[in-house]
């Protein structure tokens, strides 16, 4: 193993490999697969990809602010109008903490409105970036571990480090989010579709199975994760509804009538 492979990967090199992976080039996957520490190398590339996206989102935010109506002024104007009402004046006199709580609640409500309405805000962008970062890292770990298990079960030969390293490179399509730097730009789900392709290439390179098995390794983890999330959502809602008094009795009564 050469020193170059052991040494920490440079930024330009990481982006070059990500670019190659984006174009489904086997050589990029081979570079990570053959590295002395494939997991570390892949993880570094994944971090570079995600941080690049973060920087692009920050620049995009600045540009978005320049071309979007000044919602912050509306926020201030509405706040001033509200604080001048008799209700506000009376309540703040009666309860000294009211003004502080009201201000906090008001700020949070506007930040939620910014996020829901996709209006540019620093908090919204930071939250969006952190969500992308955490979700991408978590999905890499959970999806990767599941896919690794399925791949091994189907007869794949690569080890965990090699698989996870190569799979990290498959997150290269996230780089397409850099295009969002331009205001008014939409990607129309291309990232999710292209992720499927790069993951297929990563699985193919690590396990060298038949194409059907490669496809199964790529798709089955999505099915497992989807079913788990569906189950979680279903039982959370069911738990919430079960707390409503009388609902269980009503269901029992309805099933009794049905019989």
């Amino acid at each position: 193993m050469t020193e170059a492979i052991v040494a920490p990967i440079k930024l330009a090199e990481a982006l070059r490999l990500a670019g190659q992976a984006l174009l489904l080039d086997d050589r990029a996957y081979a570079t990570v697969y053959d590295a002395k520490y494939p997991l570390r190398r892949g993880f570094t590339i994944l971090l570079v990809i995600l941080l690049t996206v973060g920087v692009a989102l920050a620049i995009g935010l600045a540009l978005d602010i320049v071309v979007t109506p000044r919602l912050d002024l509306v926020e201030t104007a509405v706040f001033e109008t509200l604080t001048e009402t008799t209700w506000y004046q009376e309540t703040s006199t009666q309860s000294p903490d009211f003004a502080t709580s009201f201000k906090q609640l008001y700020t949070v409500a506007w930040q939620i409105a910014y996020m829901v309405g996709q209006a540019p805000s620093w908090l919204g962008t930071l939250t969006g970036f952190l969500v992308t970062l955490i979700v991408s890292l978590l999905s890499w770990f959970i999806y990767g571990s599941l896919a690794y298990g399925i791949g091994r079960w189907l007869g794949g030969q690569g080890n965990y480090q090699q698989f996870m390293g190569t799979l990290a490179l498959a997150y290269a399509p996230k780089l397409l989010l850099v295009a969002m730097v331009i205001p008014g730009m939409t990607l129309g789900g291309i990232v999710a579709w292209w992720l499927l392709l790069t993951k297929y290439q990563a699985v193919k390179h690590t396990y060298n199975l038949s194409w059907e098995r490669n496809l199964a390794v790529v798709l089955i983890p999505y099915l497992i994760i989807g079913l788990t999330l569906f189950g979680l959502l279903l039982f959370t809602v069911a738990y919430g509804l079960s707390q409503v008094p009388g609902l269980d009795t009503a269901i029992r009564f309805l099933s009794f009538i049905k019989q």
Partner: protein, 265 residues
Amino acid sequence: MQTAWRKYNAILRLETEPFLAIKQAQDGLWWALRLFFVISLILGLGKWVALGEALGQATLAEQVQTLASQVERTGTQIEQAGANMSGLSEQFLGQPIRGIGSFLTRDVTEFLTGLETQVIALEPPLGVRPSRIVKLFGDWLSTPFQLMANWLPFTLLVMVIAKLWGGRGTLRQHLSLTALAVAPQLLAVLTFVPPTSVMRIALGIFGQTLSLVVAIWSLAILLKAVTIAHEIELKKSALILIGAFVVLYIALPIALIMVTSYILF
């Protein structure tokens, strides 16, 4: 550039040579994607026809300004009418009619002028019209990504069916060649013209008619692409494309309805 142009023409003429060259080249996918992006961007040029509307549309501040001047004019007219009728009103009511005109010219106009100042402050720092251009530019640049997102599910399904029927092409080869089906889409540029006037609606209808021809041409390229990418017969490629269409637009929606009804009922 000349080579690319020659290659593009050869693809449109359905010659086998460029398909084989792209299939074998290391940078075949890169070339095909670039072609896809360039053609999609030209296709999206139709969106720029709306630039005139985007720039001509009055900003909120301008609308308020127009309203203020209208109110002022109406107020002056009422004042004049009041002055003309003051003799009559004095005769019948014992006093002249005053107030409405001055209320409109002074108070309402003052309020609207103040509102205009506030509205200007709410406008984007870059200005309303430059912001519209920037956003239109972003929308135009989105065209290739949107088209690709629509194209990928179909082409991937074609790949799976082709593989099941013994196709031998790799993912890269398949994508490189099927992406070439975008080549004739240049003629469909009119379908992107927004229907904002009678002439543009007519252009849109003509564009839709033209896009039928384009669709048949693209289908022919797709047939050739699948045949060469997977080294199969033309007849088999046609069946694969029909199969993919049936699965994506008929079988899959029916299956979704059946699965949902099985789970819920």
